[in-house]
């Protein structure tokens, strides 16, 4: 069953003013439960606008959004519940931290859900472990932590609500390579452990290629394609024309193909490339 479904979803910023701008143009999507989806597209392609429709922060100008079979905005009083079902982590989420201690900040979401203290405690400890925060961090002020740690606290704050769908907008923006790998690792782990649907907006093809099971490519307010990484990266040329980069290794293999060495396969990870090259050398 599909967990997120959109029908002819359109969104226009500043309707009726001279600054009118179409941000989403007739989006039809069907996202299966349990998928780990990467959303790519360059700045202004509508990625962030799209994900804000999934938890009802933005109201479609026209068209419909269904979450778990239920239509959003059919009943406005249910919106808050939808937000617990679809957890959204914004860009630079560390800027939303506000509590005195890390523990309290992670507990903010679950508390809003009206859970019991025992359950909240359980969830905070569990998610803190998942994102790799130590026990002694929990009683510290979030403002004392390092950038990477703050980011993990903020992500934990949403994960602790145990949403059916977790959406992260550029979770690795502004982090060093080590911090980036760490965040991507914990997202993967969360996906595996919770068996929930995870969506990940990213600029970095490298990140997306090695993490996700499906890729959604946005271009010019429209969905360009929604498919597995192999099939998406098979269209290297089109992606490049859109101004998107493909993983470096995919580009290398594309050039090799042009030079006459065809591996008859789409390569988007270094491990896989290594295997292919070794196989060729063995022959």
């Amino acid at each position: 069953m599909s967990i997120i479904k959109t029908e002819n979803l359109c969104y226009v910023y500043g309707e009726g003013t001279p600054f009118k701008k179409t941000a989403l143009d007739n989006i039809n999507l069907d996202i299966e439960e349990g998928e780990l989806v990467g959303i790519i597209g360059h700045t202004g392609s509508g990625k962030s606008t799209l994900i804000q429709h999934f938890n009802g922060l933005l109201k479609p100008t026209s068209g419909k959004v269904y979450i778990d079979g239920e239509e959003l905005y059919a009943d406005k009083s249910k919106l808050r519940e939808i937000r617990f079902k679809v957890g959204l982590v914004f860009q630079y989420p560390e800027y939303q931290l506000f509590e005195e201690t890390v523990y309290k900040d992670i507990a903010y979401g679950p508390k809003n859900m009206g859970l019991s203290d025992d359950e909240i405690d359980k969830r905070v400890i569990e998610t803190a472990r998942l994102v790799g925060l130590k026990k002694e961090h929990l009683q510290k002020s979030p403002f004392e932590l390092s950038g990477g740690q703050k980011r993990r606290v903020a992500i934990a704050g949403v994960m602790a609500m145990v949403p059916k769908v977790l959406i992260l907008d550029e979770p690795t923006a502004g982090l060093d390579p080590h911090g980036r790998d760490r965040i991507l690792g914990l997202i993967k782990e969360y996906h595996k452990e919770m068996k929930s649907t995870v969506m990940l907006v990213s600029h970095s093809m490298e990140d997306v290629a090695k993490t996700v099971s499906k890729i959604l490519v946005m271009n010019d307010s429209k969905v360009f394609m929604y498919d597995t990484p192999e099939k998406v990266f098979a269209r290297v040329r089109e992606l490049c024309d859109m101004g998107l980069t493909v993983p470096q290794i995919t580009r290398v293999f594309d050039r090799l193909k042009a030079a006459g060495i065809d591996f008859n396969d789409e390569v988007y990870s270094c491990e896989y490339a290594k295997k292919l090259v070794l196989r060729l050398l063995d022959k």
Partner: protein, 269 residues
Amino acid sequence: MIKDITIGQYFPGKSLLHRLDPRIKLLLTVLYIVMLFAAKGFVGLGIGIVFLIFSFLISGIPIKMMLKSVKPILPIIIFTGILNLFFIRTGNVLLSWHFITITDEGLKTMIFMAVRIVFLICGTSLLTYTTSPIALTDAIERIFSPLRVIKFPAHEIAMIMTIALRFIPTLIEETDKIMSAQKARGADLESGSILNRAKALIPILIPLFVSAFRRADDLALAMECRCYRGGDGRTRLKQLKTSYRDYLSILVVSLFLAMVILANIYIGI
């Protein structure tokens, strides 16, 4: 949405009024206010009104905007109007019912005051419609800079105003973002008692303050990196210059002011 709040009301254009030196415009606005308050009777006030309508026509600002600027002060006008109407007891009684007495003097004062306030607001709005906030702070700096002799921090005040104006849209955007983020974590900003709603603002205000301070720190650092050390010896990219237009407009306004004073002396109503 919160973003729709317009900050400042600058209405870009290329009219004569837009091109006047902001310092002169500020001075002319002061003269205009003097004109309105100097007027003792309806004839004097009428001259002031003619001047304003004339200026509005030159500026090319839609009359609709003029009316819009009056809207927020409507309650004040009504309030002072009622006070004048009921509490002025001199003159011929027009209506008397229980404790309410309305006299012709009261009615006249009410109308006179209301018209004066309306045109006072219209006139000052015309200044902000035709002058960008930055030009205005520039003008304020220059006008007050002679006061540096008595240690009046003209440059600092103008810099503070400029920075504040610059960061209003940024902070509004930031507020929007933080609100969305906390809503995504289940913050309920729209329902509950006043106390609960005030409490619900904490998760928004704290991150907003933190980010405002962070931005202030960054900005201070960036300014120091570019050798900012106060107003002494600073030159500017856009020098304010007065031209024949400015002198002409001072002349016109002075003529109107003279007319008002003459009307006071010779007509006196």
